[in-house]
C-alpha cells in the first residue's frame, strides 16, 4: 500500500533533489546522503554565500517567485544558527509552494 505524499514530504523530496544538483561540483559530500534532517551548515558544509545561492535556487526552481526568507531565518529578532531541509520544506508549505 502506498501513502500519498504530504505537501511537506513532497517539498522535502524536491529540496533534496535540488540540493543534490546544487552540490554536485563540491569537493565534499555528506555522509549518508541528504535527508530531511540534514542541516545546511553543520551537515552540508554550507557557507554564507552558499545559503544565499541556495535561496535563489529555491526561488527560481521551486517557488517561481521571491520568498520572505526572513520569516525562516529570524527568530525573536536574531538569526538562527542553522536550518534543516525539513524546516525549509515546512516553510515552503506555509508559503503555498
Amino acid at each position: 500500500m502506498t501513502t500519498a505524499a504530504t505537501p511537506v514530504a513532497d517539498l522535502e523530496a524536491k529540496l533534496i533533489a535540488l540540493l543534490e544538483d546544487f552540490t554536485q561540483d563540491w569537493d565534499t559530500a555528506p555522509d549518508g546522503g541528504i535527508t530531511g534532517e540534514s542541516r545546511l551548515l553543520a551537515d552540508l558544509g554550507f557557507e554564507s554565500i552558499d545559503v544565499i545561492q541556495f535561496m535563489v535556487a529555491v526561488e527560481e526552481d521551486i517557488a517561481g517567485r521571491k520568498l520572505p526568507f526572513n520569516d525562516l531565518v529570524m527568530k525573536d529578532g536574531r538569526y538562527v544558527d542553522d536550518l534543516s531541509v525539513r524546516q525549509m520544506a515546512v516553510f515552503l508549505t506555509k508559503e503555498g509552494c
Binding site: V51, Q53, L67, Y79
Partner: protein, 532 residues
Amino acid sequence: MTTKTLFIGLDGCTYTVLDKLTTEQPGEGVVMPFLAGLMANGARAKLFSTPNPLTPPAWTSIMTGRTPGHHGVYDFIRAEDKGGEVFWTLYDGRDIACETIWSLVSRSGGKIAALNFPLTAPAPPDVEGTILPGFIPAKHLRRNTHPREAFQRLKDNIPGFDPKELAWDFDNEKQALEKLEDDDMESWVRYHLPREEQWFKVAEYILENDAPELMAVMFDGTDKIQHQAWAFLDPNLFPAEPTAFEQRMRDVCLEYFRNVDRYIERLVTLAGPEVQVFFASDHGFTATTEVLRINRLLADLGYLEWAQSDGSDQALRREAADFANLDWSKTTAYCRTPSSNGIHIRVAEKEGDSGVPIAEYKAFREELVEKLLAVRNEFGEPVIVDVLRREEYFPGPFSLEAPDLTLVLRDHGFVSIKNLSPAVIQRDRPAGTHHPDGIFMASGPGVKAGMVERRRIVDVTATLVHSLGLPVPNDYEGEVPADFFTPEWWAQHPVVIGEASKAAAKRAPTEDMDEDEKKQLLEQLQMLGYME
C-alpha cells in the same frame, strides 16, 4: 551565425595606464602592441561613469543603457531601513529593473555571449546564447550558467577549463581593498593571471564555435590588480630607481597586460575584419592617498552611535564585517558600505520611530552637507569636494533607493566604515581607487581614428545596439557617438530610434519590497566577512 560586434570590457581600465603600455617605454618596449595598433587606427574617448563609479551600477548601465535611478542597482549590497531595523541583501540579476542588451538582442532574433559580467545571474529566461556570469563562486557556476547545459559543454570542450581558477573566490577577492604585505601583494596579482587566461579560453571557444551576433567578454583583473598595485602602474608614482620588490611588482603587472594584449589580438583576429570591436571600462583609476572613516566622522559630529557588542559569536562576526554595525535607535545618518560612498539619513516613518522627522529632513540634510564640506585633513585641505543629492544625480523610479547623499572625495577614494580614530588619516603608500573617467574605444569597419570628446557610460549600450544594426530604444539615455565613425559609414548607417526597451519583470520599486528585502539575512551577517 556571424559575429557582428565584439565587445571587450576591461574593468577599471584607464588611459593613464593604457597610454604608457601602448607606447614605447625605456626597458619595457611596447607592452600591448596589438592594442596600440587598434588605438592608433580607432576611435577613443574618455567614458564618464555613474555618479558613484562602481562595478555593479556602472556595468549595469552599460548592460541596460540606463542610469542607476532607472535600473535600480547601486552597490554590491542592497539594504532597506525599516524604522529600527536595517535589512541587508545582495543584488543579483533579478534586481535589474531594465531590459539588458542580452535580452534585447535575443528578442530581436540575435544570439549573444556574455562572459564574466556582474549581475548576469540568474539569467533572464529569454536570452538566446551563452551567459557565464562573473562574480559567482565556482561551486555555483554550473547552476548559474545559461543555458544550464553550457557549463558541461565548456567543461567537455575546453582543454584545461577549471571553474575554480576562473570563478570569483571570495577569500581572494576580499583582499582587493585590504592592506597587504609585499609577498601577499605579489601573490594577489599573480592569482589573476590564470583567472584571466580561463576567461580568454572560454571567449575564444564561444567565438570560434558559436560566433554570436554580439560577443561580449569582460576582463576584471585590470580592476583588481590596480587596486593593490596602482603604485607600480601609475607612471607618476613608479620610482625611477625601484627596489627589487617594486620592480617585481611592475614586471608581474606588465605580464598581466601582455597577456590581455594577446587575448585581444586573438579575439579580434578570430572575429574577422568585418566586425566592429568596442572596448569600454566601467570606470577609470587613480591614486588615493587618504582614508576617510566616514562613520567615525558622523559619530564625532553626533549623527551616529556604534552598536554595543554582547560578546556572542554572532556579534563578533558582525563586528568583524566591514559593514555598518550601529545602534539604530541613536543614529540619524550613516554609511552602509565602503563601496557606496553614500550617506543614508534615517527618517522616522511615524511618530515614536527613531530617526529624523520627515518635516525636518531637508534642513537636516542641508546642515549635514555643510558640515561634510567643511571637513579638513591635517594639512587644512578639504576631504570631501562634492556631495551629490540623490534626486539630482539619481533621477528615476529607483531614486529613493540611492543614498540620500553620495560623497566625492578629493582623491576619489572610497570611504572606510571601520570604527577607528581619527576620522581622516593619510595612507602609508598610495593605493588604487576608482576614477570617474574610464575608456571607450572602437575599431573596425567605418570607425574613424582619433580621440574625441568624453562620452557618457550609457552611450556604450546605444553604440553596441547600433553596431548590431538594431534600432536604438527610445528610452535609452545615451547616444551613439557620431564622431567615432567616418562620414561615409555614418551616412550609410543612420541611427534609427525604435520602440522602448522592455521592462524587466521581476523588480518593483522600494515600497513593495518589504518581505523580499528581508530574505537572506542569516547569510548576510557572515557574508560580509567575505566581502571586505
